[in-house]
């Protein structure tokens, strides 16, 4: 009898301890659903006293939610959101600057420049052309190898790209062309490209999906959906244009106002650690810690060298101006084009 009571008491105490020790972190993310589980398991294994609660949605929704909750933030950490979104949060003074344990190993251009940084990168995704080989053969389309090729009249109405006003990926493309070809050259390029665009979509991965399903043979998107769809059996060729790729970084930051600062710092440490990079490596070909990534099946070896020298500050400062110009040139005109 006594034994049983003692056992019960011990169990109770253990439960209480467990409940006390278990810190719960609310983590906002735009990572793909299938990435969440391995990342979470690895972190919780290293930190058994902390558990992660995900709030996952697309980049636009998560960013909007974070900003809308500014007065009483719900998130403790942001793990896996576009660097440009984290830059907005930093601008709004919503992040706690923190230097994670492995900061010196992170590439200089893959983190917030301030010291300590407001956000630290994880991996890189870049502009990619998804090219449907079956449709191309059916419609007699040559495979493009550079951005300039896409202005060839043979592609009229065959190309889809994200609308830069709806999608960060779309804006990435536009700002990269303006940086690569110069302001005048960039707009001139987009004028010609616009004549070939069949549709501007409202999500960054949609063009690649449309290409995979053959709705439109060519989609300007980024490499993650391209690789995923190809693995699922889509007849896609992944084209990385020669002039250079616009790119964006996935990053981590601690939200100001969190009451779990110590646990949040542990997560930030983990997100920048070698163990985490080994996990990111399965999904991305360029990582924030140089020298870890392995050549990616379906992507050329010089992938990282093709990334342009991206001026994020310029891109975010001029965003409103560029979008207004884009709207003026291509939004109003798209109706007569459609008819």
């Amino acid at each position: 009898m006594f034994k049983r009571t003692a056992l019960a008491a011990g169990l109770l105490a253990a439960c209480a301890l467990q409940a006390q020790a278990n810190t719960e972190l609310t983590v906002y993310t735009a990572l793909e659903v299938e990435q969440l589980k391995p990342y979470q398991e690895a972190f919780e294994k290293q930190n058994p006293d902390i558990s992660i609660k995900w709030v996952r949605d697309s980049t636009g929704i998560v960013t909007a939610k974070l900003l809308a909750e500014k007065d009483r933030p719900q998130a403790d950490v942001v793990w896996g959101l576009a660097g440009s979104s984290l830059a907005i949060l930093k601008q709004q003074d919503m992040l706690v600057p923190y230097a994670p344990a492995n900061l010196d190993k992170i590439g200089a251009n893959y983190r917030d420049a301030a010291n300590p940084p407001a956000w630290v990168g994880m991996d890189v995704w870049a502009a990619t052309i998804c090219f449907n080989t079956i449709e191309a053969e059916k419609q007699g389309l040559p495979k493009p190898t550079k951005w300039e090729d896409l202005t060839n009249p043979v592609y009229k109405d065959k190309i889809v790209m994200p609308n830069p006003a709806s999608s960060g990926t779309g804006y990435l493309d536009v700002s990269a062309w303006l940086q690569t070809f110069g302001e005048t050259g960039g707009w001139a390029y987009m004028d010609k490209l616009h004549a070939n665009i069949g549709q501007y979509t409202h999500s960054g991965s949609k063009p690649c999906k449309l290409a995979a399903a053959g709705e439109f043979p060519i989609g300007i998107s980024f490499e993650y959906p391209a690789v995923q769809l190809k693995r699922k059996g889509a007849p896609l060729d992944i084209v990385l244009p020669k002039e250079g790729l616009g790119w964006e970084i996935e990053a981590t930051g601690i939200v100001k106002g969190t009451d779990q600062l110590e646990a949040a710092k542990k997560l930030a440490d983990f997100a920048a650690s070698r163990e985490a990079m080994d996990l990111y490596k399965a999904n991305f070909a360029v990582l924030a810690q140089p020298g870890i990534a392995e050549p990616f099946q379906g992507l050329p070896a010089d992938y990282e060298q093709r990334l342009i020298k991206n001026d994020f500050a310029w891109a975010s400062e001029n965003r409103d101006k560029i979008l207004a110009e884009w709207r003026k040139r291509y939004d109003g005109k798209s109706e007569p084009v459609a008819q």
Binding site: V55, A64, A68, A213, S334, Q339
Partner: protein, 570 residues
């Protein structure tokens, strides 16, 4: 018309309440409670959102300067024009079609009414993404019917087609209600006076249902103007105003700009509210206490023609949804068309079945609490003396229809997550999801309840009064049983809407309360169109099963309480 005037006294004479305390408490207390709930669930969150539009910082596209710049821009006029054009086209197609469909079900002897009615409700039962996927698989560049249309589906006609499918059951619900009850004596009198069926239609059916027709037109118009789900999927380059609000919020995090556009989207609903008020003055009660329920007599030509129409509409809807279900079974559209169930393996997805269970919980709560509340509220609006308070309540009930779900959802974040708000504990809870969903779908439900209630003559209340029956008891004993079909409609409508809704709740769900329809969106976003179609199909089947169950359960109730409908005169 003459007879109607003789048979029915004007409303004002009928309404005269004694100072009975219980009644007063029920009516006044109820109305004030309703006001409090509407303020909390609709007006305050919206104000919090619109405040960002008018007073917000220019960095987020808000403020008066941004407003005047927005309105003056050619881009805005272009978007506005596009919105009006496509919404008008949808109204012109849907409302006559739905009116004829409702007429066929209520006023003719076409066989298989239950079946047609069920099929007509299909678009309500699935997330709007499902018909979107189906339309692309049917008419897209790889679509099976691609060769039947000159250009591809993306653009004006894609939006119109998608929104016709989306709004048809909404319009039908209002019109079925409006055509539900008719006084057989009027038709008898008309035929004994030698009036042609057309004449009888013009002078009896039409005046009795035109308010419903107008309400349906307004509803469809506002639904179209505020919807962005269809334009996002099949709009192509044909851009509309609601999509611009979506782009501002989701694409650029410019809440101010989104709120300003949301403000413009409110205008059509406010306009229709004014016209509705004006029409209400002219409409008289169609169903007196002494009325006999009209039962249509078979007529071969008429029934045949209507059957053809009903068949055509049903075939189109079945085609679209059949295609959608097919798309959930295909392995990899369009290159591997072998069939399999692997898209239905939700347990392999993180949170797979949890989302589905959450949706069931949310839908059940919305249907039960929302249904009772809305019906009771409508009763308090329709069957009591009209006062500034009832007008205000009516206006507040109209607003949610005009608010894009996205704007409402953000308003909830701004309002309920305010540190100063004593209710901020609700934030992230299922309760708030229920409140938000009921508020979002309030208008159609309330319109259905009101349309049904308005057809009951005020004489019923007068009789209750003279018999000294407390109003509350009268409500439960007389009004509720008579209107049971309408109430069940509302319960079903709220259930299926809660199963399928995305736009408002996407900002409000927490990890534990992920919803099935949001999972659909996420899967589509991740390129898993088959999985999205599969989850949508599951939602569709669930909603259909619950609708059937409700219909079955209510049948017994109806047989008892609705005997008067079939009873031969007195």
């Amino acid at each position: 018309m003459q007879q109607v005037a003789i048979l029915h006294k004007p409303r004002t004479l009928v309404r005269r309440w004694p100072a009975d305390l219980a009644d007063r408490l029920f009516v006044q207390g109820g109305q004030w409670l309703l006001l409090a709930l509407l303020l909390l669930g609709v007006l305050l969150p919206l104000t919090a959102m619109l405040w960002r539009g008018l007073a917000g910082d220019p960095g987020q596209g808000g403020g008066l300067a941004a407003a005047s710049e927005l309105v003056a821009s050619a881009n805005f006029r272009w978007l506005l024009g596009n919105s009006l054009k496509s919404a008008l086209a949808v109204v012109l197609i849907v409302v006559p079609l739905a009116y004829a469909f409702a007429y066929a079900l209520q006023r003719t002897c076409v066989p298989g009414k239950g079946l047609w009615r069920g099929i007509s409700l299909l678009p309500l039962l699935a997330p709007s993404m499902l018909p979107g996927i189906a339309l692309i698989y049917l008419f897209g560049n790889q679509g099976v019917l691609r060769d039947f249309i000159p250009d591809n589906i993306y653009g004006f006609w894609g939006i119109v087609l998608g929104q016709v499918i989306y709004t048809f059951p909404h319009a039908l619900m209002v019109l079925l209600s409006a055509l539900a009850l008719a006084d057989a004596r009027l038709f008898d009198a008309a035929s004994s006076m030698g009036a042609s069926p057309w004449r009888a239609f013009r002078s009896i059916t039409w005046p009795g249902s035109r308010q419903g027709l107008f309400a349906a037109a307004c509803l469809v118009f506002t639904l179209c103007v505020t919807d962005f789900g269809v334009p996002v999927v099949v709009g192509g380059d044909y851009q509309v105003l609601s999509l611009e609000a979506y782009k501002a919020v989701v694409g650029q995090q410019q809440f101010g700009r989104g709120a300003l556009i949301g403000l413009f989207l409110l205008l059509p609903a406010l306009l229709s509210f004014a016209v509705d008020l004006w029409l209400r003055r002219r409409q008289r009660d169609a169903m007196g206490g002494r009325a006999q329920v009209y039962h249509p007599q078979p007529s071969r030509g008429r029934d045949g023609a209507f059957l053809l129409l009903v068949l055509l509409v049903s075939a189109c809807l079945l085609g679209v949804f059949g295609m959608a279900v097919y798309s959930s079974l295909v392995k990899f559209w369009p290159y591997d068309l072998s069939l399999s169930l692997h898209n239905y393996a939700f347990s392999e997805l993180p949170g797979g079945w949890l989302a589905y269970r959450n949706s069931l919980l949310l839908a059940t709560c919305c249907a039960l609490f929302g249904g009772v509340l809305i019906f009771l509220g409508s009763y308090l609006l329709e069957k009591t003396r009209q006062s500034p308070l009832t007008q205000l309540l009516r206006l507040l009930c109209f607003i949610p229809m005009a608010v894009p779900g996205l704007v409402l959802g953000l308003g909830y974040v701004f309002f309920f997550n305010l540190p100063a708000n004593p209710l901020h504990g609700l934030y992230g809870s299922v309760t708030l999801l229920v409140i938000c969903t009921v508020a979002h779908f309030l208008t159609t439900a309330q319109m259905t309840a009101s349309a049904a209630l308005r057809q009951l003559d005020g004489e019923f209340e007068a009789a209750a009064l003279s018999l000294k029956v407390p109003l509350l008891r009268h409500f439960f004993r007389v009004t509720l049983p008579i209107c049971l079909p309408a109430l069940l409609d509302i319960v079903r409508y709220l259930f299926v809407s809660a199963m399928t809704t995305v736009s408002a709740v996407i900002f409000l769900y927490s990890p534990d309360s992920l919803l099935a329809a949001i999972a659909v969106l996420n899967m589509d976003d991740a390129g898993n169109v088959g999985g999205a179609a599969a989850m949508s199909t599951l939602i569709l089947l669930t909603s259909a099963a619950v609708s059937l169950l409700l219909a079955g359960a209510s049948r017994g109730l109806l047989r008892r309480s609705q005997a008067w409908r079939a009873a031969p005169g007195h």
